[in-house]
Symmetry: C2
Subunit: 344 residues, 2 copies
Amino acid sequence: MATIKDVARLAGVGLGTASRVVTGKGSVSPATAERVRKAIKQLGFRPSHAARSLLSGSSQTIGVYIPVLKGTFYTPILQTIDMELRSSGRHMVVAFGCGLGDERRQAVEGVEFLIDRGCDGLIVMSNQLNDGDIVSLSRKQPNLVVLNRSFESIRDHCFSADHTLGGTLAAQALLKFGHCEFAIISGPATSPDNVARINGFLAELAKRGINPNKVLILQSDFSPEGGWASAEALLASKHKFTALFCANDEMAVGVLSHFQQAGISVPEQVSVLGYDDTQSAEYSAPRLTSVHIPLREVTLNGLYWLLNQCYNSSLKVEREFPISITWRATVAKAPMAKAKRSGK
Amino acid sequence: MATIKDVARLAGVGLGTASRVVTGKGSVSPATAERVRKAIKQLGFRPSHAARSLLSGSSQTIGVYIPVLKGTFYTPILQTIDMELRSSGRHMVVAFGCGLGDERRQAVEGVEFLIDRGCDGLIVMSNQLNDGDIVSLSRKQPNLVVLNRSFESIRDHCFSADHTLGGTLAAQALLKFGHCEFAIISGPATSPDNVARINGFLAELAKRGINPNKVLILQSDFSPEGGWASAEALLASKHKFTALFCANDEMAVGVLSHFQQAGISVPEQVSVLGYDDTQSAEYSAPRLTSVHIPLREVTLNGLYWLLNQCYNSSLKVEREFPISITWRATVAKAPMAKAKRSGK
DNA sequence: CCCGCGAATGGAAACGTTACCAGATTTCCA
DNA sequence: TGGAAATCTGGTAACGTTTCCATTCGCGGG
């Protein structure tokens, strides 16, 4: 690989001059600059990223930790971050958890790995990390953003939609269609944003005079497999319900798949509402109505804040994110009381 | 950030000694080593990745180019690569195309971006790159692997399943159930692996005495939207078919969604076969039967080959990948001739 | 007792770049 | 035309590491 020394030699100029042409800083006579540019082209010179990093103390790199790249929830986040970063010549390095075993330890290790790699900033998504972890991590690298979750201790580092509100909206969407018998398939109890949306949902129900204790809540794991299994358990339970709220789309998709097989027709017999409005919701059968979380905006604003911290940019940062319902085909009017669901 | 100089000073030893402790190479007396380790801990010293890269000429980084992170096709690839790399202390940097506009130029730019970043090796997936592009790219960085596609000119850099065989198996799977009227939803004609599977499919049909010209082929774009639209077009065309082969799962999912809405029941009225056997296939409604491509193995072996090139490892590398059918619920016996599909 | 060998150690050099300083040349105005 | 200012240029230092070489020390064998 050609170095800037080679360039300087070939162009017959000093190191400084060659460097000035490369960086575009400082003044160089047009003729000389042209000669240098020619040499660069001829030698196929590319500045060494390592040398620049070493000298400047900045790697122009943002690290992203994601628990597990499964399903369609995280992918738009990565895509968004990469696009934004590349447009300013920076890049992204990713670390995943493996999805098995102790996710909390994996998260800590993953983030530390990224720190060691000299990332200028970090974007972290994790349900399992606790307050202590995140504080200790953010001491090692203060340029840290947490997405889709809020830690009290470092609140301004956190960007998230209001999932309690999300749950509220979900309840309203279902109540509007006259439903009054509910079931919920919840995500893991260890996931704070999951419990927020469940609580929001239940609270709204209570406010409308529906006893939360009459709502059957099945705990699952955010996966389609989990959704499928919960759907099965739900039907077996003989619990009466006309509306089912799933804490994410992946589980809802599993539910839809199982209902189809079990001969339960959606939304005629039961309405199903998803959450997140991911790609999986768009073309399920039937297409899934879902609570839309503006994840792109959340990600982007978190990233902006981070860029401001790392590189003294002055991007405008929002902290409020509107939640809405994306209406598709799985929520409809509650069936008449007489048309009882014939639980399999 | 503490440097190794600080460590040496605090431990009261020379630079060389400190370095020997850090790297574990060379001999250091136990007592001294202990003192150094203490200093490292006390200062929270972490070796600078940039300095190491500069000196060694290796960044311990593999670059991955992916056209667009949508759907569930690419995600397991990223996950696989990252897991494998992290286990040996290396890491992955990713570049995406944006999915819009001139994908070929994006691919070239993306890969060059990765080269500039000093990646030791590159993993590239792209349908749009042509032979000339890849040759010129691989001159800049010979440690380059192409996944899921084969270029004649650099055949040993390419790792892919045999998609012609995939197409053949797909045809056999459908023929076995007595189908004789077919339709195909194809991916883009510019995608070589797509045309391979279509050709394999058609060839097998021909061999079994079915005239390929009687097969309706709709061209689409590998997306669920595209699948949905094609399904619509297919029904409108009044073409008679009992089996539909989709060139990937994403499109098949779109088809399933549209069929559900249109009241076409799968597999009773028509059988649907997907391709790739991605996550999307697992919990569609009904669950999608699909041609299983061992993408994890393809990826892993490509990566092994790359690691051998980059780091003189000697991992064992396979180049043959078995294709099979994952049977789920969308393929069944062809309906009796009398039970005509009532095209909407 | 001395020579030689191995272990332990410190320090200089190098990796490729940019920032800075100092010197040289040109430009411009009084 | 003289001098100050602006422009242009080359070389050195520095970023944090590891590798290599030279030096010292202790020890065992001849």
